[in-house]
Amino acid sequence: MSTTQQPPRADSRTPAEQQATAKRPAAVRYSTWAFEFYRSALGKKYVMAITGVIGMAYIFGHMIGNLKIFISPESIDAYGEWLRESLLYPILPHQVALWGIRLVLIAALVLHVHAAYALTVINRRARPVKYQTSRDYIAADFAARTMRWTGIIVLLFIGYHLADFTWGWFNPGFERGSVYRNAVASLSNPVVALFYITANLALGVHLYHGAWSLFQSLGVSRPRFNRWRRVFATAFAVVTIGGFISVPLAVLLGIVE
């Protein structure tokens, strides 16, 4: 019999929890419930879904704003100015809302990518020996099976897009604040325009699965209404990507110049 260190009752934690807590230093052991939740794969799926919803809300607003390019150069330039300087002003000082949104988006993107990476590692380990013959998938569609690849394409695109329109590195004759001019200057190059269109199609494929999948991950399921989840995801992907692609297409076709 060992002496005083033994707890009086049987440990109610699962073996995994016992093992996990035994290996980690004391400071980490008393982490918050949020960290504990994120440590589980299922918790990571919740984080992917919630950060996905944040991203979807953002890109939908982004797409609506882009359409102002079809009204007039002044319209979209004034809209850009308002977003940067006057959003929620005078409730908040200038640029505070802008930076608030930026920080939320950066945090969401980092978490989304980290969760995706961690889950991919888990899933690779879960099948160390692959099937030796080709799989005959019944239900897994193209979008579902290419989430990692469309995700990487979108991630690279976000980097390019910021360098193009926010930092101006790749934008010929970049003028901060001249949204219309910068858009036309960049998208007049057919290679750039085709790259934007391709990346947006990848985003659309990503959304086609993601906007449906998030309901499952968040546990939003009412059998009578579940077919509407598919309708929503398809409509969201088509409308959002249609709106985005209309801009480079219009520049390519000379409608916007």
Partner: protein, 249 residues
Amino acid sequence: MKLTLHVWRQNSPTDAGRFESYTAADISEDMSFLEMLDQVNEQLIADGIEPIQFEHDCREGICGSCGVMIDGRAHGPQRGTATCQLHMRQYSDGDEITIEPWRAAGFPVIKDLVVDRSAFDRIIESGGYVSVPTGAAPDANLIPVPKETADRAMDAATCIGCGACVAACPNGAAQLFTAAKVSQLNMLPQGRPEKLERVANMVDTMEQFFGSCTNVRECEASCPKEISIDFIAMMNRDYLRSRFSSNGA
């Protein structure tokens, strides 16, 4: 009819394994898939070759022993059917059939087509039961259960634990099995007192052995009992509650 089989042969868990090809002659269309394998094994024994090891028991689609990967599909080409209920009338003369064991870290191959599915037992042990005090059996219908709820719980309870969901999942995830085993109890009044502890423990055990769900629905399409992924959403919801509640595990 005459068929060519490409069967995974592996002598032991540590053996690398390889495909061997055999001819299955004089196969009747009325045979089940397993009876076809039985006949091939009779021939192999007669030829002095070690017979193909495969797991089977009830041969009526309720025990969950017999799952194998047939031409890249769990339990073969017919939907909603375990391997034992697949019949050779699905095939025609001259067909080639490839047979592989389930492949997942949680299901190590023991020999040929037989895998060790005891990881499922670990999941059940961690919460797939209702704790009841000893004593006389309670009267039937003592606890009212709405018919719709009982039906849905029974839909989950049709899971035979064959492992096709894991085998079919591109991520080797056991979400559908675990969700069925959690939900069949969590939906009913008898299972409700331990609901949150159950889901937390069973999910945590599941994650020790298996991958993570990406909602591709391959499990649902491969399940011989056609169990719905709605139960996975239900499990996700219960798991979140268990993590938020003050008395959860």
